[in-house]
Amino acid sequence: MSKRTISLLLILTLLISVALFGCGNGGQGKVADKSSDQKTAEKAPTDKGPATKDVILATTTSTQDSGLLDVLIPAFQQKTGYVIKTIAVGTGQALAMGQRGEADVLLVHAPEAEKKVEESGAAVNRRLVMHNDFILVGPPQDPAKIKGVAKAEEALKKVAAAGAIFVSRGDDSGTDKMEKGLWKKAGITPQGKWYQQAGSGMGQTLNIASEKAGYTLTDRATYLALKKNLRLEIMVERDPVLLNIYHVMEVNPAKFPKVNTAGAKAFADFLVSKEGQAMIGKFGVDKFGAPLFFPDAGKKDEDLGLK
């Protein structure tokens, strides 16, 4: 055999072995066993593990980008043996996945839209998990002079009047819905060159706003987590309308029989459990000196001033 043929054969063998291993990984439970977090695999109860392990969590980008899920999910997996598949998308898409029965449990932050999904029967058992707040951030030069304005609507009016760049999520996420609501309250239909729709997650949108020296609406958690890379400062905060409330909902098994009900319930229960709530309350304190989320389990929407 020539050297060429040998090296060719070597490459082919490599490809084949890699492929066989790769394809052999398919199937529901097996994937989890093989490649889930090693710690989980070691410590998870092997013989009394749940029947269907995979739980699809459709959630907003802020819970992933802020790093909260990196704390909550390993703890949950280790405790229960379930394997969470996090699909971090905008709240709009997460809710749509729930409405199509393509997810098991939803962790989202758009109360009005959530209620509609619940009323449609696609999701059940909606429970309050935590809140933080939205803030308006902008470039230090503050071209629209909105720093310290008390009312978010007033600030937006000023931004529009000044024609200062405003970067919108533009992705139908919870933050995007909140922002659209604020513009509506301000009586402005934002359009024109100054109003730019990023169509991206929160982290990416903040990066864009920072680069373009524009204003944007963000949840506080993602902003604090990314602050070190951003040339953006807090402009407007603590307006009661800027409350950002997260609920967990389980996708309705009566409507979608393929849903992993037990897994969804276990995860939702974990989020509102003492343990889960304590983890949420502590998250970020070591890194930012203040919590990023405030646990709210057991409270009602009205307690937070929500209708």
Binding site: R4, L15, G22, N25, Q28, Q64
Partner: protein, 232 residues
């Protein structure tokens, strides 16, 4: 600019320190894209040979379809594969959504036209008399196929590189059908997108560098095999 330097340092640290997560992501990238390339070769080479060498009605339409397929946008493939694999979709019972297998399927669909197209072009460049002569010497169809592949090996290796390069660098389909689930379907490209949106530019840069090194390593191997004859 310093972000590139930071990325290089980070990449070296992650690789040398044996960061389990990074190795897992790198290995999965190899598995998924390697597997998809292999499947695309198994389908694409025979298909390319038939299109290059046989004359049959509708051949031109088929060739134009393959050429269009070479420009298939990965996100479109991702979306279509998702619709089929969703658990309420036609193949939902297979439970493949958000698994590495789903990513292999999507990437195979992306790579197959690439492999077919490049292989077809290579085989068409061979002297048509060669084909007739091999057949005249009494070779079977399969033997002819192998002999012609050997003759066109430079193009065939280019086809391998085109296929692999197309899928290992792809992010749209992998994100959609894989979901970038940690420890399960996170590959180098989807991890890079996520780290950028987390604002960890150094980690994102490190992952990019690892991806480039990986691609370069594989391509180097193939190129050496391809060019050996030229040198000797």
């Amino acid at each position: 600019m310093d972000i590139i330097w930071q990325g290089l340092q980070k990449a070296a640290r992650l690789l040398l320190a044996g960061d389990a997560e990074v190795w897992r992501v790198t290995f999965l990238t190899l598995q998924v894209s390697g597997g998809a390339t292999l499947i695309s070769l198994l389908i694409g080479l025979p298909l390319g040979a038939v299109l290059a060498l046989k004359v049959f009605p509708g051949r031109r339409v088929a060739v134009s379809l393959v050429n269009t397929g070479m420009a298939l946008p990965p996100v479109v493939v991702g979306l279509v594969v998702s619709v089929f694999l969703w658990r309420n979709g036609p193949f939902g019972f297979l439970h493949l959504m958000y698994t590495p297998t789903a990513m292999v399927i999507a990437q195979s669909i992306i790579a197959t036209p690439l492999v077919t197209g490049v292989a077809m072009a290579g085989l068409q460049q061979l002297d048509p008399r060669l084909n007739r002569q091999i057949l005249a010497l009494g070779a079977s169809g399969v033997q002819t196929f192998w002999l012609l592949l050997r003759e066109a090996r430079l193009s065939i290796l280019a086809a391998v590189m085109a296929g692999l390069g197309g899928v290992i660098s792809e992010v749209g389909a992998s994100m959609m059908v894989g979901g970038n689930v940690q420890g399960q379907t996170r590959v180098l490209t989807t991890a890079t997108v996520m780290e950028v949106s987390k604002g960890n530019f150094d980690v994102a840069m490190a992952l990019s560098i690892i991806l480039l090194l990986l691609t370069y390593g594989i391509t180097l191997g193939i190129t050496m095999a391809q060019q050996r004859k030229r040198i000797s």
